[in-house]
Symmetry: C2
Subunit: 160 residues, 2 copies
């Protein structure tokens, strides 16, 4: 486990909320001298605790409708084919801009997060790019109705 | 749809990769005067196209094992209870630090992203906090084996 004290964590929490905060603003909020904050952030960056700085795009650039799609692949006679086929499908899907996330989950399953402007376009996208894949056992579409936590992932993952 | 030209999109793409880039660095990369870049970023912020600036935490702070968990709830006799129950479950789950994401997906389904230090701890967490919920129809655990796209969401969502 990483060694982080309360100050490190407080700095990280502030930067997660707004990475544009200046050293002096962070110092003020946490009642610590700028030099301390500067040193801590430098260390956090050097140690890779802060992996990178990025932006979350606003609603206007986010797809309006999103769905998780669970794809289960048929087990082929020659077992070795399964992994190669999953590799091929996931790599191909990852290249599509409407695919926000792809993961291999378990031996024969992939989970995809897709986004589109409208529900109709989203369904067509799934129909044409996922349902159309050969040798699938099952495709379950879970349209996202509401996020209770982590809603930011859409703005984080959305392409520009 | 939002009106964005190629320069706006190029700036957004650079900031997504590294939001610490200075105006002058962006200007150099895109061969545009600093004043132009400054103006464009200001507009992108004002319009909320850039929603916010944030950090992605590194591997050391990320849970080592993560899984998507699909939870299907039994439809109660009194239909009205379903939504209230989903609301209750999702809100409760959202408060747990090991729960990185929660969404309501479809009428009776929720999708949860959970993370833990080890597979054993992850399974115990799911057992105690999800399987233990009353009146579930089905719980499907999809352990994430490999991301092909969007692997960053773990470092984006991880708590500190």
């Amino acid at each position: 486990m990483v060694q982080l004290d309360d100050l490190d964590r407080a700095i990280l929490r502030l930067l997660k909320k707004d990475a544009r905060l200046t050293i002096s603003e962070i110092g003020e909020k946490l009642r610590k001298p700028e030099s301390t904050i500067h040193f801590r952030i430098k260390k956090l960056q050097e140690r890779g605790i802060i992996g990178r700085y990025t932006i979350v795009v606003g609603k206007d650039l986010q797809p309006k409708k999103a769905a998780f799609v669970i794809v289960r692949v048929k087990t082929p006679v020659i077992e070795d084919f399964l992994e190669r086929y999953l590799e091929y499908i996931t790599r191909t899907l990852a290249m599509l801009p409407n695919v926000l996330m792809v993961s291999k989950s378990g031996e024969d399953t992939i989970l995809v997060l897709v986004g589109e402007e409208t529900e109709e376009k989203l369904n067509r996208f799934i129909e044409e790019n996922i349902n159309a894949l050969p040798t699938l056992k099952e495709v379950v579409v879970l349209p996202i109705r509401e996020f209770k936590k982590g809603s930011d992932i859409i703005g984080f993952l959305a392409g520009v």
